[in-house]
């Protein structure tokens, strides 16, 4: 909110406290001041009178003789370009050296004509143009004829000697958007007395009238109305205009201004109706009509069921709490009014105002909730100000409907509980002082403090609220730093958390960078999900088509990232991401790994580790091994799950303990094209939940072998289609218990090998636990292996 320093000082003595100091203290107490700005600015200003104004031919300029005092030397020649510059005007003169928001005024000739200052428009002093008429904006300010020539406190004369604090109110302190309540708050911060204007009971006047108010909906909990049979519409007093400007509102006429001014004072939105334009002497609040209506600003709105509407004689005359109708608007011809001060349901007002895009001052206040007594305060104050500044008379007795019962809230707290919660050692005297300044009327009984909460502090409900008031006003500086003194707990990572970290470490050790991509994705990413568990979850109201669904796989997000990096000449990228994915069936956690180019490359030292299928397979196997999953628990199968996104013959399914974990391999060239990928990209997407839930094989030491191992290299020629697994399986079966290891170390096709065949070189290792192997033993087993290879796989020993 915009808080006028000058207006505030009407209620609380601010002497000796600058706006900056006030801002600091308010911020420390929880009312954050985000900006301080003067309402208008200017030094070296003086009020002058234009004695003569001659046109300079061929220009828009005038040469004036302007008097700024009584002595002969006080007549200055000043050149002015404003169209309204003329003899007899009282004007604002900025003298040599004047500091204005636009810069400093230096005396210098204008087009060769001596000029000793500048005649100013209000906006040149920093007054916002929105508060000025078009005429005021098009020329210099025309001061009243009685303006005192020679007066140097021009801002004071104009009433613009004010500073506005921009206060950011937390939602619980909506009460402070009322000037009166803000004054109470500032009084509590500064420990200074606060005086509200004498308003109470001012509306208790008038005879019983015939006007009636009622509500057909629960969403209007209370309604106060008052007929004023005579008002005189005219300009507002200058001070009121200035305060409204400071608060960010414009002046319209005295009656409308009073309704706004009282709203700013009390926090209660008011609406004044032109009584003559109300078709009936009754008002009913309803929420079940559908129609079009024209509001105050001339725009037409569609009223729907659920919108709170003010009707009179069955006709809508305003959108309750948001904006009045055009028909019953106050204008110069108005001579009688009806005052409305009501409490409309916050949610209903909020919904309607958002839907209609009418976020008015009134609507915002209803949205934040009203205090129970503000309706009465506002009607009382309206009567007072209308009588004083609009010559109001002919009041009728206040009419009402709804519930006005009010009991002040009483909250009890103990000093012990307060200090226990805060970890402080405040004394009863300290606490009592704070609560007294807050007007909580503390009654002390031993350790117990009983507070009676003022009506406007709707945020105070229980002990903790009282404690917060105490610490924020005494100040947090007094708070010590301690650590919780409690039962010891063990902090440790869960298996899933450990596994995530382990995978990350391994990936990074292999040169992969971790990425985090967006959860929300477009439709296309859903249509092209890898192995989605179920239908994707869509947002009810997406912000855009690109962020419409919660992703059901990582594939496309990761390829998008590769695409971006390729486009930015970041060559040879490899990434991993661990993230949850969602579908209507629930959440899953996944690991995505991608290689785009070589994993390692060093031309100088002639090293290149291609990021290919085998590199991916190796990385995944070493990851699984690291997590304790290896050997027979892991299976690699032909990819039948997804051959749309993966290359059908350069990808594989990964299974663990007979459960599907994911697919890895080359991205299908056709799909890679969609992302404009230049290189062949190798990708893996694996489900992690199973790894989290399963226990890996534990580490156990096996005594070291005491007898030497013997290796034999063999090369066999087999069909090209014979897989490595078939060969090793065959050898493993034939090898018996002496066989320790089989390793393929070369595959060769080409010259000297028949077409359709390949040569496979293997190293077979034999070892016995209890003796050194003898040549005959090895030969027997080795022969059995060669026989099995020949018989089962038609593999012959290469010549």
């Amino acid at each position: 909110m915009r808080l006028s320093y000058k207006w505030l000082s009407e209620y609380v003595d601010l002497s000796g406290i600058s706006p900056e100091e006030l801002a600091d203290k308010m911020t420390t107490a929880g009312l954050e001041v985000e900006g301080i700005e003067p309402l208008a600015q200017g030094t070296h200003l003086v009020i002058g009178e234009v004695l003569s104004s001659e046109d300079v031919e061929g220009t828009h300029l005038h040469i004036t003789q302007t008097r700024i005092g009584d002595k002969p030397e006080d007549v200055l020649q000043i050149v002015c370009g404003a169209p309204n510059c003329r003899a007899g005007l009282k004007v604002i003169v900025a003298l040599d050296g004047a500091e204005l928001p636009g810069g400093t005024i230096h005396v210098r000739p204008l087009r060769g004509i001596d000029s000793n200052g500048m005649l100013c428009a209000l906006y040149e002093l920093g007054v916002d143009k929105k508060y000025l008429t078009e005429y005021q904006c098009s020329g210099i300010e025309e001061l009243p004829a009685d303006a005192p020539v020679g007066e140097t406190d021009v801002l004071g004369y104009l009433g613009y000697d004010d500073t506005v604090l921009d206060v950011s109110l937390t939602p619980n302190r909506a009460d402070c958007s009322s000037m009166w309540n803000m004054a109470k708050e500032v009084g509590a911060i500064l420990h200074r007395e606060v005086k509200w204007p004498d308003y109470a009971g001012k509306a208790d006047i008038g005879e019983e009238g015939t006007f009636r108010v009622s509500s057909a909906t629960e969403k209007c909990s209370a309604f106060l109305g008052k007929v004023v049979n005579h008002v005189e519409v005219g300009p507002s007093p200058k001070w009121m205009v200035n305060y409204l400007h400071a608060a960010g509102m414009n002046s319209i006429n005295n009656v409308v201004d009073i309704s706004n001014f009282v709203m700013l004072e009390t926090g209660q939105p008011l609406h004044y109706y032109n009584l003559a334009k109300l078709p009936a002497r009754e008002i009913t609040v309803v929420d079940d009509i559908e129609m079009k209506m024209t509001a105050l600003d001339g725009v037409e709105f569609e009223i729907q069921k659920g919108d709170l509407v003010i009707t009179t004689g069955g006709q809508p005359t305003g959108i309750a709490g948001i904006m009045g109708g055009e028909e019953s608007m106050i204008d110069e011809t108005t001579n009688a009014i009806f005052i409305e001060a009501a409490n409309f349901d916050a949610t209903s007002v909020r919904r309607s105002s958002i839907r209609l895009n009418l976020i008015t001052e009134a609507a915002q206040r209803f949205t934040k909730g009203l205090e129970p007594l503000s309706m009465q305060k506002a009607v009382d104050r309206s009567v007072e100000l209308l009588t004083k500044y609009a010559n109001a008379s002919g009041f009728e007795k206040t009419v009402s409907c709804g519930d006005f019962t009010y009991e002040p809230k009483v909250v009890k707290e103990t000093l012990t509980h307060c200090n226990d919660l805060l970890g402080t050692e405040f004394t009863m005297d300290q606490v009592k002082e704070v609560l007294t300044w807050l007007d909580f009327k503390p009654e002390i009984n031993g350790d117990e403090i009983t507070c009676t909460i003022p009506s406007y502090r709707t945020d105070i409900e229980r002990q903790a609220d009282i404690d917060e008031e105490i610490i924020r006003l005494i100040g947090f500086d007094s708070l010590k730093s301690t650590l919780p003194f409690m039962e010891a707990t063990v902090g440790r990572l869960t298996p899933a958390q450990k596994i995530r970290r382990t995978i990350g470490e391994l990936m990074r050790a292999n040169g992969l960078n971790e990425i985090i991509t967006y959860t929300l994705v477009p439709q296309d990413y859903i249509d092209n999900a890898f192995d989605a568990a179920g239908d994707a979850i869509a947002l009810a109201m997406p912000m855009s088509d690109a962020k419409k669904y919660i992703r059901s796989s990582l594939l496309n997000s990761v390829l998008e990232c590769v695409q971006y990096n390729e486009a930015h000449q970041n060559n040879s990228c490899s990434f991993y991401e661990i993230s949850k994915v969602y579908s209507v069936k629930g959440e899953e956690e996944r690991l995505a790994v991608v290689f785009d180019g070589n994993l390692e490359e060093d031309k100088l030292h002639k090293i290149a580790k291609p990021g290919d299928f085998y590199a991916m397979k190796g990385l995944i196997m070493s990851m699984l091994k690291k997590l304790g999953f290896f050997g027979g628990r892991i299976q690699i199968r032909e990819n039948t799950k997804d051959t749309v996104h993966f290359h059908p013959f350069r990808s594989a399914e990964l299974w663990m303990d007979k459960k599907f974990l994911g697919v890895f391999g080359d991205i299908h060239p056709a799909y890679a094209k969609k992302f404009d990928l230049k290189k062949s990209v190798v990708y893996a997407e694996l489900k992690l939940d199973q790894l989290f839930e399963t226990r890996g094989t534990r580490m156990k030491f096996v005594p070291l072998e005491r007898y030497p191992a013997v290796s034999r290299d063999i090369a066999v020629v087999t069909d090209r289609e014979t897989s490595a697994q078939q060969i090793t399986n065959t050898i493993n079966k034939a090898g018996g218990k002496l066989l320790r290891n089989v390793e393929i170390f070369d595959i060769y096709e080409g010259e000297h090998v028949e077409a359709g065949k390949k040569s496979v070189a293997l190293r077979v290792t034999y070892q016995a636990a209890d003796h050194t192997l003898k040549e005959e033993e090895i030969s027997t087993v080795h022969k059995a292996i060669l026989d099995a290879l020949a018989k089962k796989l038609n593999a012959e020993l290469r010549a």
Partner: protein, 344 residues
């Protein structure tokens, strides 16, 4: 006799003039070989008398020994020389680059997250987890943000249906943990994770971001405990000597609520660009768990109290590493990622 001396001198001189191990080998063969000169001397012994034989034999042996020793010595010298030559030949250009050994990097958000996790694990906290697709009940209802609270407006939250949404804060995890505890204390946990809000992405806003919250509930937990805990955290994250400052604030789920400022680590509180001259940077929101939140979750608010705090990891990372645009975290430009390649 002179013959022996002659052979010996001849041999020694040949040894001396040998320039390579090969030449030396020739010398060895010539003098010590089976058909060598010294062997030939031995064969001369046959023609000597019985008395002369031992004397002659002894002399020849001495000669053989002297030649052998000289050869060994020369051999060692030649080898040393050859090695020295080889070493010179093996000389490397030590200014050439070493073989590349680039390791991958952890995402900066996870670096910060892990740092916080490790700090709190050390203090006996556990790390809670929870779903990103969350029930309205945990995200709002239990967090003391009832229906119609302005914070629940459609424009702030990605709703999926009236009861389901993308969590808007990690507070949802706190609520799940509180409910799970069934009124039993102590509770000490942190809950990091992704959260989502309806914000248009720009340099300072992101519809997806990362929070880490902490929660402690027990008997006699105080606001001063919160301050001490956060001071600990600030010192870990921004270096020793950090001070913290509380300012009153408002969150629906805490009372009292505070904004927490950390003394600026860049200027040590003197005032700089980062802290906009104030000497402090706003980094955390915190407070004492609202008694109503405790009650809704089945705790006796008369008996236990608790504190909670929350920090935005993007903000911490941006401050710490001077990152100017929040979108960097989600674009994953390799050049950005590679920035975070070292010990911190």
């Amino acid at each position: 006799m002179d013959r022996i001396t002659e052979v010996q001198n001849e041999a020694l001189s040949a040894i001396e003039s040998a320039q390579s191990p090969e030449e030396l080998q020739q010398v060895r063969i010539k003098y010590l070989g089976k058909k060598g000169s010294i062997q030939a001397l031995m064969s001369e012994m046959k023609s000597l008398s019985k008395e002369e034989k031992p004397v002659f034999g002894q002399k020849v042996n001495l000669c053989k020994q002297a030649v052998s020793e000289a050869i060994e010595k020369a051999q060692a010298q030649l080898e040393a020389k050859a090695l020295e030559a080889q070493l010179i030949k093996d000389k490397l250009d030590i200014t050439l680059n070493g073989t590349k050994s680039e390791k991958g990097t952890m995402h900066p958000l996870h670096m910060i997250q892990q740092e916080i996790e490790d700090l709190f694990i050390g203090m006996g906290y556990k790390i809670a987890e929870g779903p990103e697709v969350e029930e309205d009940y945990y995200n709002f209802e239990l967090a003391n943000i009832p229906k119609d609270h302005p914070a629940r407006e459609m424009q702030d939250t990605f709703y999926i249906d009236p009861n389901t949404l993308l969590r808007t804060h990690t507070t949802a995890m706190q609520m799940r943990e509180l409910e799970k505890a069934k009124g039993q204390t102590p509770i000490k946990l942190i809950c990091p994770g992704k959260v989502y809000r309806r914000d248009d992405d720009d340099a300072t806003h992101s519809h997806q971001f990362t929070q880490c919250e902490g929660l402690v509930v027990g008997e006699h937990i105080t606001l001063a405990d919160l301050k001490g805990t956060l001071e600990f955290m600030a010192n870990r994250m921004f270096g020793e000597g950090r001070q913290i400052r509380f300012r009153p604030s408002y969150f629906p789920f805490t009372e009292p609520s505070v904004e927490v400022d950390v003394s600026c680590p860049f200027c040590n509180g003197k005032g700089c660009n980062v802290c906009k001259g104030s000497g402090w940077i706003e980094i955390l929101g915190a407070g004492m768990v609202h008694p109503h939140v405790l009650e809704m979750n089945g705790f006796d608010s008369e008996k236990c109290t608790g504190f909670a705090f929350g920090v935005g990891l993007e903000r911490v990372a941006m401050l710490k590493y001077g990152i100017d645009d929040i979108r960097n975290f989600y674009i994953n430009d390799e050049r950005f990622l590679k920035t975070f390649d070292r010990f911190d």
